[in-house]
C-alpha cells in the first residue's frame, strides 16, 4: 500500500524545551495508528505537526509525497485533505451544526450551497444526529458536539483523519457514541492517526500502536503484542499504570 504520511527525524522545540526528539514514522494508506504515552511525551505535538498547526524545528513531514515544510507547498490545500478532531471540539459557536459542516466546503472546496448542504446532511446522518442540523453548538451535549466536529472534517472528503484525544473532555456516558463513529470510520478504510487513552478502542481499531515517551517513539507494535508482550521497560510501566482498572 502507498505511504500516506512519512515523518522523518522530526524535532520540535518550544523555547528551550525539546518536546519531540527525532521521531520517524511511516503511515500507510488505510492504516489506523494509535499513539499512546504519558502526558508531555510529545504525542499531541507530533499529531499537530502532521497538519502543520505546529511547525517542526527540524525534520520533515510528507503527506502523499508532498513536503509540508517546502515553501512552495500550499499548506491550505494539504490541510483540506487532512481532517483534525480536537479534544475541545472547537465547533464554531456562532454557526448551526449544519453551517459548521458546510462553511469550509464552501470556502475551501468551492462547493455551492445546495451541494455543501447535501454532503453536510449526509455526514450528520453518518454520525447519527441529522435532527440536530439547525441546533447551535451550545444546545448540544459534548458527545453530540464532537460528532458534529467529526462530520465537519469528513465533509471535506479528507484522505487522512487526525484525532487529538477526542474523548478526553467528554462525560463517560458520551465516550461510546464518539468511539463508535470512529470505529466505523476505521472499518471503512480511512487512514487515521489517533492520540487516545481508550485502550478498548485501540484494541478494536488499531493496526499498529505507537508508544511515545520523553519526545521519542519507544515501541511500535500491534495491540496484542503491545498489551501482552511489551518489549521495553517504559512501555511495561506505562501499561501497568493504565491497564490495572
Amino acid at each position: 500500500m502507498n505511504d500516506m504520511i512519512v515523518i522523518k527525524d522530526l524535532h520540535k522545540y518550544f523555547g528551550h524545551i525539546e518536546a519531540v526528539k527525532g521521531v520517524d514514522l511511516t503511515i500507510r494508506q488505510g492504516e489506523v495508528v494509535i499513539v499512546i504515552g504519558p502526558s508531555g511525551s510529545g504525542k499531541s505535538t507530533v499529531l499537530r505537526c502532521i497538519n502543520h498547526l505546529e511547525t517542526p524545528t527540524s525534520g520533515g513531514i510528507y503527506i502523499e509525497g508532498v513536503h509540508l515544510e517546502d515553501k512552495k507547498t500550499d499548506i491550505n490545500a494539504v490541510r483540506a485533505e487532512v481532517g483534525m478532531v480536537f479534544q475541545q471540539f472547537n465547533l464554531f459557536p456562532h454557526l448551526t451544526a449544519l453551517e459548521n459542516v458546510t462553511i469550509a466546503q464552501r470556502l475551501v472546496r468551492k462547493r455551492d450551497k445546495a451541494e455543501a448542504e447535501r454532503i453536510g446532511m449526509a455526514q450528520l446522518e453518518r454520525v447519527g444526529i441529522p435532527e440536530k442540523a439547525n441546533a447551535y453548538p451550545r444546545q448540544l451535549s459534548g458527545g453530540q458536539q464532537q460528532r458534529v466536529a467529526i462530520a465537519r472534517s469528513l465533509a471535506m472528503n479528507p484522505k487522512i483523519m487526525l484525532f487529538d484525544e477526542p474523548t478526553s473532555a467528554l462525560d463517560p456516558e458520551m465516550i461510546k457514541e464518539v468511539l463508535d463513529v470512529m470505529l466505523d470510520l476505521a472499518k471503512e478504510g480511512m487512514t487515521m492517526v489517533v492520540v487516545t487513552h481508550e485502550m478498548g478502542f485501540a484494541r478494536a481499531a488499531a493496526d499498529r500502536m505507537v508508544f511515545m515517551d520523553g519526545g521519542q517513539v519507544v515501541e511500535i507494535a500491534s495491540p496484542e503484542e503491545l498489551y501482552n508482550n511489551p518489549q521495553h521497560q517504559r512501555t511495561k510501566l506505562f501499561l501497568s499504570k493504565i491497564l490495572t482498572h
Binding site: 487532512v82 481532517g83 472547537n90 464554531f92 456562532h94 462553511i103 475551501v108 465537519r152
Partner: protein, 270 residues
Amino acid sequence: MAGPEVTPSFSTDSRNRNEPFVAWREFPWWLVAIFIFLGVMTYLILTDEEINQAFVFIFPGITTTLYLTLGGFGLALVFGLLAGLGRISQNRLIRNIAITYVEFIRGVPTLVLILTLAFVIVPAVSASFGIDNRDVSIELRAILALAIIYGAFLAEIFRAGIESISKGQMEAARSLGMTTRQAMQYIILPQAIRNISPALGNDFIAMLKDSSLASVLAVRELTQRSRLHAGSTFRFPEAYLVIVFLYLAMTITLSLLLRWYERRLRVGER
C-alpha cells in the same frame, strides 16, 4: 428535582419576584430623576417664550450633530478594525505602525487633536494630493478628525475582542484548509464583534457627546448653535439648558437601548 417542595418564602427565586421590598430596592430611581428633568424641560420649551426661542434656533443643529456622529463613527469602525488587526499582525512593520497610531492618539487631548487634525494634518495631506484646502469642508474635517481619534480607541476594542476568541477557533478553521483571512472573516470576527458590540455602543454614545468639540471648528452643530444663540441674546441659561436637554435625551435613549440589547445578548448565550 426530587424531594419535598421547599417553602416558597425561603427560595431566592420568590424573594426577587414576589416580595415588594426587593422590587422597590431595585427600582431605577435614577431613571425617574432623569425623566423628571427631561419632562420639566419639555414643558418649559413648550411654554416659556425665551426657552422656546432658544430651542427653535438650536434644534436644527441636531442634523449636523447626527451627521458628524454617524459619519465619524462609520469611518472610525473602518480605521479601528484595520488598526486592531494591525496591532496583532505577524508583520513587525504593520504592527508598529498600528501601535504608533494608537499610542499617539491616546497621548494627546481630544480637543487638541481636533484642532491639529482639522487645521494642520488635513490641509497638509490634501495639499500633497493636489486638492485645494478650501475644497475640504469644515464638516468633513470634523468627521475625519473624530474618525481618526475614535479609530484609535476602537482599535483597542477590536484587538481585545479578537484576542478573546479561543485559539482553538483559528486552529479548527485553519485545519479545515481556510486561509488566515477566511478564518478571520468568517470565524473569528463574527464572534469577536458580537462580544464587543456593547463596548462599541458605548463608544458611539461617547462620540455623540464628543461631536460637540467640533464647535471649536465653527461647525454649526448643536453646541455651536447654542454658543451663537447665547452670544447674540445673552440668554446663557436658556441656550445651554436646551443642549443639555437635547444631548441627554439622545444619550439616555441610546444607553437604554444598549442595556436592553446587552441583556438580550446574555440570554442568547445561555
